[in-house]
């Protein structure tokens, strides 16, 4: 099964989600294995985090194996504050079940 890799760079904020969302959502619903590298995310806000949560849920619906890789400190900090660690687990848990 092909593994698709995507990098999210620099900013995952309200100013960028509009542009980033279509490609990421399409990939999350491809049914492939998708690895999204978050190591380059220097800034993230609630709109960005909301997009990650949506990707995780939609990937689960579409049987896409989604993994978020190397979350940057900015990402883990916001995820930690929102107690949404499960988002970073991707779909591994859901699809196994």
């Amino acid at each position: 099964m092909p593994v698709r890799r995507l990098n999210v760079c620099e900013a995952l904020t309200i100013h960028h989600v509009h542009e980033l969302a279509p490609e990421l959502i399409a990939a999350a619903c491809s049914g492939d294995t998708l690895k999204i590298d978050l190591s380059g995310v220097e800034r993230i806000d609630s709109a960005g985090l909301q997009l990650l949560a949506l990707l995780q849920r939609e990937a689960g619906e579409c049987q896409t194996r989604l993994e978020f890789e190397n979350p940057s400190p900015a990402v883990t900090d916001l995820i930690g504050f929102y107690r949404l660690h499960s988002v970073l687990e991707g779909t591994a848990g859901q699809l196994r079940a």
């Binding site: 309200i14 989600v17 509009h18 980033l20 969302a21 959502i25 619903c29 806000d45 609630s46 709109a47 909301q50 997009l51 949560a53 949506l54 849920r57 939609e58 916001l78 504050f81 929102y82 107690r83 949404l84």
Partner: protein, 582 residues
Amino acid sequence: MHSALPLFVSECSERLDRLETALLALERDGCEREALDAMFRDAHTIKGNASVVQSGDIEWFAHIVESVLERLRSGNLQADRQLISTLLPCVDHLRFLVSLATQPQAAASVLADEERTRLIGLLVPYLGDDIPQAHGIAALQASGNFWNISVSFAPSVFLQGLDPVYFLRHLQSIGRLIDLKTCLDALPRRQTYEPERCYLGFDIELDSVADKQGIEDIFALVRDACELRITPPQDKNRDFIRLIHSMPAEDLQVGEILVRVGALTADELAEGLRSQRYLVGQSESPLGKVLVEHGFVEPTVIDAALQRQSEMRRTVSQEARQIKVSAERIEELEALLAHVHHGLGRLARECAAGPETWLARQIPALVAQTERAIEISQDIQRVRLGSVFHPLHRLIRDTSHGLGKQADLLVSGGELEVERCVANGLADPLIHLVRNAIDHGVEAPGERLATGKPARGLIKIDAWQENEHLVLAIADDGAGIDRDRVRRAATERGMLSPDTPLEDADLLAMLFSPGFTTAARVTRLSGRGVGLDAVRTQIRALGGDVSVQSFPARGTRFELRLPLKARAAHDAGESSRRHTHH
């Protein structure tokens, strides 16, 4: 200016006086639960009222004071001398802020800022590190049970440049986030998802001693773009009920009662009233029911407010209706009446010269009624002597501490009423005499014990009425006036030759001479030789005089005697001044 400001100022002044008295009593007599509760309530009410008149500085600082009092009340702090010495200047600072409240923007705000910084520095040990920013509220001790905050943000907030995380993180400035659940239920499927819309909601448990308004204030910027429910901890509901039952009697609406005790915020009340108006006609919906349905207030709290409201209405209707009016307005009224009285007098004389008419017959009655009106306006301006005595308690405490002495003040006659100008004129002389009593009269504790006296000195002020005179006696149980020193000092100043025989009373009268002092050194308090001379000048300006008696090792007693009527005092003052000029 907020229309409620004059009332706010007068209310606050009363509460701050009470708070100061209670702090002094706390230091002297130790902790009593009820007294601590009352102090806490005063600070809390000042804070609440400040928020009503939108005086953020006062609200913020009163909150800090309230927070310390809360820790004191809950046993986390001891009411030692150091803490009281820190809290008393805080009361002064609040007084200062209240006095600024009626003035146009920030005349003395730099001063206020400096003093606040200084006081916060002193308060740090009592509050921990959590001194809030000037717009925030103190985050304090863990309280054991928690606020529940449920908030969902409107889809538009991201586009307004507002990120929920900002508000949620800000909650940490007023307490500890025990739990935060991010609710993603509103996040739609990808087909209808719009990345720039916000779909987030949160359910938060917060441990904080902040009040409901304080929590709501965190969301102030986004208040119209979120649905917010703040549910107090169970303990808090019990506090609300207790506060409701201890509220002074006023004719208040249920909503106002709830806002005053902090069970309801002003925004919640407004929302409740809007809903109630909307519901009118559909069904009978009392406000209490609407507030419960919205989840703003617990039913038990509503019941308590309704009960208190009916009690208050009974009390208020029983009490005479009272209003607060500024002294200036009454003086203005009195001046006008005096003018009318004068005019009527002239009219009476004109009419007396002419034929007897209906008009001429009416005049004597009008004159009498005007005189009665003047009397009433003078009566209204009378104040209790107690208001002049009040600051002396604090003065004695601070002065004696500064000199390493201990002294108590016992007053009687505080219920006597005098004209405002008499009360004002007495304030400075009393301060002088009380300071003198501590500085020169009352001995240091060791010295007192050695001579068989209690370590704490006693200063007594008695006031009574004798015919048309007011008499005040200010007595201490100190060492008494040292005649030899008075004689020496008078000789040094060339006021007396060394061997002039002099009656005791005449020798003591020299104390009132201009520039006279026996103090070997100039202290912060006395020794500049202006004290007793100034006292006599001020009392004479009120038409009175001052005398002194002193007994070695038993103490000194000053007696002030002045006419009760300001007019008489004024005339006497004038005549004494004329007399002096001759």
